[in-house]
Symmetry: C2
Subunit: 253 residues, 2 copies
């Protein structure tokens, strides 16, 4: 018999849908099977408990003392999705990484406001084997409910670092040995498929839609994804994915 979810735990699950609730408790919600699995893989020590609907009691490999059984109706009320997979974990938000930069380059998001795009970009970065995802104030909270669902929990396996401004972000990069800053620009810049040094200890900045990169950073170079279709632009997640997999192509070939 699993322990039942307490009222206090249910209240915490509700509170964690807001930024203030996360700030107060230092915790976040992590919903969906793949997301919870990623969490248990990377940071099992951070997990407070995992709420499971009856239908999902046997789908997770997890220490039984972490599991909390939740009746279907209550679970549906607590879930952030219409068709839930029956699993929501509550975990402490890991402390922000401050050590050396890992991997070949840093992907930086400047005021990216859409949690779906954030999650998609995080997944692409993870799939490409890179680690550093930096972002500026004005971007969505990566530990928000939707961002974690959309990123399927890859937040827990990336080094995410937050900065007030793009200038501060670039400055921190310099101190970590970053050589160049590139800004993805929909209108002008060097062809991203031929630009040298694009992934050589660099920062690549992607701006939130619809304004692109807002912060100025002197000395940054512009790169463009060529679009023969003469179309305005693709969205931020698509642009980031094209650049991220161009790094994979160069590395493997």
């Amino acid at each position: 018999m699993l322990t039942e979810l307490s009222r206090r735990e249910a209240a915490l699950l509700r509170a964690l849908t807001t930024r203030s609730g996360r700030k107060k408790s230092g915790c976040c919600r992590c919903e969906g099977l793949r997301a919870v699995r990623e969490l248990l893989l990377c940071h099992p020590e951070k997990v407070l408990f995992v709420a499971v609907a009856n239908k999902a009691e046997n789908v997770l490999q997890c220490a039984p003392e972490l599991l909390r059984s939740v009746p279907e109706r209550l679970f549906n009320e607590l879930s952030g999705t219409v068709t839930s997979q029956g699993v929501i974990a509550v975990a402490e938000i890991p402390p922000e990484k401050s050590g050396p930069v890992e991997g070949d380059f840093v992907l930086a998001l400047d005021q990216l406001g859409d949690p779906g795009n954030f999650g998609t970009i995080a997944r692409s970065l993870r799939a490409a084997g890179q680690k550093e995802l930096w972002y500026t104030k004005g971007s969505i909270d990566p530990w928000g409910d939707k961002a974690i669902r959309s990123g399927m929990g890859v937040q827990f396996s990336l080094n995410m670092r937050r900065f007030d401004t793009l200038a501060g972000l670039a400055e921190a990069g310099k101190q970590h040995g970053i050589k160049k800053v590139f800004i993805a620009d929909p209108h002008k810049g060097e062809n991203c498929f031929t630009c040298r040094d694009l992934f050589d200890h660099s920062i690549i900045v992607i701006g939130g839609e619809p304004n692109g990169v807002m912060g100025a950073y002197p000395g940054a170079e512009r790169v463009i994804i060529p679009m023969p279709g003469d179309y305005e632009s693709i969205n931020a997640a698509q642009a980031a994915t094209v650049l991220i997999f161009e790094s994979v192509r160069r590395k493997l070939n």
Copy 2:
């Protein structure tokens, strides 16, 4: 003074949110500024009328006799979005293209169920300057409200063709001079960055999540997007975008 939206027109706008409503009338809804602009650019002759909220009366360049003024409250009720741009067009769905295949390759979607992914893929294809977007039964209706919003109306500028099965789709390709069929596979296949002939009068098939390509097609080759991060997979829209822009890279370099 603009003509006011009639009750009949309001009823049509409501009916077009369902597949049966679209089938009955042969029309679709096209919401959002960029989507309506794409429609007016590609198929102005298909537009029946454009409903505009008061706030948006001056944002469109369009024959005034097509415009219908809608009070804010009614517009919000008719809109499919929470933060609308105040513009919804109703247009006849263009007849399916049956002529020669245009561009370098065909992108085919096999049972892709997510309208957001469909729209994203359509935009990437349009940005890359390709034309042919084919799909099998079981995929979402590309003329649905969400698919058009997410695709920002690029449906109107692509050649979209529907087939009952993947085998039927490949057969039609053969009759149009298609040389090879490639299936994007998350687990095995030739490296998409080195695979020759990938964009030489080919069909590239992307499967809907989470099952990948369901239909079998004898003689198809498998291609894989390498993922050094050892991560399960990226989503269908990301995978399609990586492949589409690999075609741009090869063409330009």
